[in-house]
Subunit: 195 residues, 2 copies
């Protein structure tokens, strides 16, 4: 059930048989649909979520009531509000599936003990957090220096299947523009392909 997670682990660190059993016994499995929440704004984030299948988004609600998506996670990615999770404080974010998804969960109550019992998990998550930070810096650069149009076409080129999979209004939110602007860009992309 958690095979994909152990394969992911093995790409970064070596975990022995005993450690694998300890982790396996602690992991929780959850099947979630679009209406479920893994985290709701105001709650303390109680899980570190690994997407086994499907797609999940992390978003906040802006002052005018719209959703601002900050992060997607597809299969093979971890997602959580680590600030809330680590410091035991209410979250300002929501985490919700974009489509029916299967999730492996390390709960808050298990987390500290697992890091002690399986020290190599520190190494694994150090490398993953480093990657997440690097990617966030890159996204920040994209927001600061790239025009909305270039941002869209760069994203389409880099993640074509992702663009097919995620509803357009969510993609627009993630890239920082309105759904109307995205429709205009898509029309432009289509006519460029046909010319």
């Amino acid at each position: 059930m958690f095979e994909m997670l152990f394969e992911h682990l093995a790409r970064f660190v070596h975990i022995n048989e005993q450690e694998r059993e300890i982790l396996q016994a602690r992991l929780r499995y959850k099947k979630v649909s679009k209406k479920d929440f893994l985290l709701k704004q105001g709650q303390i984030c109680t899980g570190n979520f690994f997407v086994l299948s499907g797609c999940v988004r992390l978003y906040s609600i802006t002052d005018n009531g719209t959703e601002q998506i900050l992060q997607f996670a597809i299969s093979g990615w971890w997602i959580s509000d680590y600030h809330s999770f680590q410091n035991n404080i209410p979250s300002t974010y929501n985490i919700q599936p974009v489509e029916d998804s299967e999730i492996a969960i390390i709960t808050r109550s298990d987390s500290d003990e697992l890091f002690q019992q399986i020290p190599v998990l520190n190494n694994y998550f150090r490398l993953l957090m480093q990657r997440a930070y690097t990617a966030a810096l890159r996204k920040m650069e994209l927001l600061l220096v790239t025009s909305a149009e270039d941002r869209y076409f760069q994203f389409v080129n880099n993640y074509p299947e992702f663009v097919q999979r995620v509803p357009q209004y969510m993609l627009a939110s993630f890239l920082g523009f309105t759904p109307e602007f995205l429709s205009m860009l898509r029309a432009k992309g289509r006519s460029a392909n046909h010319s």
Copy 2:
């Protein structure tokens, strides 16, 4: 010389005397001025830099030749291009002091061995990378949902000494607007204080 770094470490993890000596022996010390570079675009990033005193910035050069600052580090912060550092590939960033600074360095060539010899460093950097990722997500949210004006005043309220310390054109770059726009906001802030 590295006392501040060991104090920082102790806030997150326990490091024993032997581990402390191993790390102390490997750390490099560098005094740098505004004209020096810790990393130049196109080079492989060879260090993970801890600011003992002063202030350092990480920036890229945009297509039209201007600087885009993505990260500052003041005393007590680590900074690096972790993507370049980890994967041994040329960086797209520059890292340069904003003022005369003292830096502690873990070099690329020492890094892997140090993580093996002092396993608790994995825990330390896991927590730091997690914080850096969380902060980057927050900054991304600020860029996406907050008006330039609110962004500036939020920043001034949260980091008043920082605003005094960093040249205004750098602050403008970091917050994603022009120096002229920043001057206008500062004038507005002054007149609001006097009213």
